[in-house]
Amino acid sequence: MNNIVALPVLLPLLGAGVSLALRGRPLAQRFVSISFLSAVVVIAAYLMWTTDQHGPQVLWVGAWPQPLGIVLVADRLSALMLLVSSTVTLIVVIFSIGQGVADRDEATPITIYYPTYLILAAGIANAFLAGDLFNLFVGFEVLLFASYVLLTLGGTGERIRAGTTYVVVSLLSSLLFLVSIAVIYAATGTINLAQLAQRIADLNPSVSLVLQLLLLTVFAIKAAVFPMSAWLPDSYPTAPAPVTAVFAGLLTKVGIYAIIRTQTLLFPHSPLSGLLMWAALLTMLVGILGAVSQSDIKRMLSFTLVSHIGYMVFGVALGTEEGYAGAIFYVVHHIAIQSALFLIAGLIDRVGGSTSVLKLGGLAAISPLLGLLFFAGIMNLGGIPPFSGFLGKVALMRAGIDFGTPLAVVRVVAGVVTSLLTLYALAKAWTQAFWRSPNRAVVRAVATAEDLDIYHLADHNDYELERRDVSEAESETEDRPRRRALPRSMVAAASVMVALSMALTVLAGPLYSYSARAAHDLLKQTPYAEAVLKGPPS
């Protein structure tokens, strides 16, 4: 019965193999990707329901003697993360199928895209389900390797440059992870998380501090916590839109998940609360100031991504049940909204021919729907009521105020400032991209799109667009292949993602109480450890 716990890892891997075997048949590849990822969503939903009703589900893979083998564990937190991540991967794959269909003549190596994407999904699922540190490491490596390939897809100069930074930083963090695993094994004689929970408490406090710092450093690099965040805005924006969306939504959150898991299970009486508090504060402020200074929407979004990681780290730093509940709620909200915004940025790129606000303008006349989606997204990210961003921030701030130390209160104030600056940076980008007079880059991009009417743009009263510019752009782009700028499936996928982030507002009550239950489990520790160590062998 518990075998179902392994399926979120195995199904995408199987799908990757099948879709690789079907290379050269894009239609079959698409069908395989969608069906396997949908199956994972269903399984994740079932797992979430089961863990909520009957406690953590444990699977000792291969039936080795119990404390020695590889163990997969789904508790409330990992089941929730699994459901959210599989939903996001499914929506993004539909978006990228839309893009692939629309750009069929473009020279992207589509053949390897779907298998790699499925392997990424398997790696993420493995990281969420891993019950021991080494399996967590393997999950990280699987998803990192898939991400290396996806980030450098096509091997253009810009992507290779971005990929270099990303790969070298990831390699370094992987090495550090190996070091920490070795040191933890030396200190305790086990790498099973449930066993570690019992043994680390018996260690000399200074030894356990070293272990904690090592693990925190590793996961902080993955989660892009300041000062280990510089790699992220450098490497994410150049990748294809669906790839950036799934990276931004999920990869950093895997790091956050690992921080939450190890902090609660291994180091429940953390002496590093103050350090994490400072890290959260600086991550938020440095990240958002970076976003304010950018002129490219994708880079701006990457910096807000870094900045909002600070909110989640703050929840962890508090170490209270409310803090963790708020952090878990915020993770869910942030996965949905950040992926949605990157998908929308991909659409803006197609319509306007660029994501730099210096070159965009007048998009509101071309696609009001896109304007609406982007607006809803930034209001949600900026934390305007009644959206889920507001609810998540309120939960974290209330937890901070209840905590009561001056540093926590400072951090709450910084949270408000950050959310205002987020709103400022993105609203500025929205105004500039959607409401200014369109300039030549936009005119030219619209002229190459087969589904956009350039004369509609020209005739629009608010913009003084000269007919001469329009006809010039049309004659310049005559020999270029025309493509659809806003294919229905891409717009639909982006809309569903935005709708999903809106739905989190409606579902906030049940979701928050689920998060609170998950946080309660995490802080009590025993449900996890007992289920793993004393659970009946399946």
Partner: protein, 190 residues
């Protein structure tokens, strides 16, 4: 307590291995700090092997091969770190192959395998060094007024008034404004 725990507890750390581990990691980190991707790769390989040596140290006293039924469990070396090392070796091998391919592609494209700076970062740095105002701001100011069909000198006057800096700032704004020829910017932003 399992046998793995007792193996760890009776282990005496091997000084030679510790020195080998330290030297490998130190040289690896030194190479990681280089600009050339090939050297970075060599650094990763060295540091990676250093970390594997750490696993050897962690594994405790060397013993007989951990084969059940062949050797007595009391005399076996700890198999768990060995299993982890094998996995890590496989992963490192794949990484080396990938980074080599990337370095080769970089060399194909640019003629060197140096890790390059981000163009956008450099542009922002230049603006900061010149103490120029943000490009987005300048541009939008110019554009908005542009669409109001004001003359260019009026725009500059407005800008210098705004910053009380006189002509020099207006000049700098003019210099630091690639957006006036959008084709320039198109290339690296896409």
């Amino acid at each position: 307590m399992t046998w793995a725990d007792s193996a760890v507890q009776t282990a005496q750390p091997n000084v030679v291995l510790i020195i080998v581990c330290a030297v490998l990691v130190a040289t690896g980190v030194f190479l990681l700090l280089e600009r050339s991707l090939t050297r970075v790769l060599l650094g990763v390989v060295l540091a990676g092997n250093g970390v594997l040596a750490l696993f050897l140290i962690v594994g405790g006293k060397a013993g007989k091969a951990p084969l059940v039924g062949v050797n007595n469990p009391d005399q076996m070396s700890d198999p768990l770190p060995q299993a982890m090392m094998l996995t890590a070796i496989v992963i490192t091998l794949a990484t080396v192959a990938f980074v080599l391919a990337m370095a080769y592609r970089q060399w194909q494209l640019t003629g060197s395998d140096d890790v390059q700076d981000d163009v956008e970062d450099r542009r922002l740095q230049r603006l900061a060094r010149e103490d120029a105002t943000s490009e987005t701001f300048d541009n939008s100011a110019v554009r908005t007024i542009d669409s109001d069909e004001l003359a260019v000198d009026e725009v500059q006057a407005a800008n210098s008034d705004l910053y009380l800096g006189g002509d020099s700032i207006a000049e700098q704004i003019g210099d630091a404004m690639p957006a006036s020829s959008p084709d320039d910017v198109t290339r690296f932003d896409r």
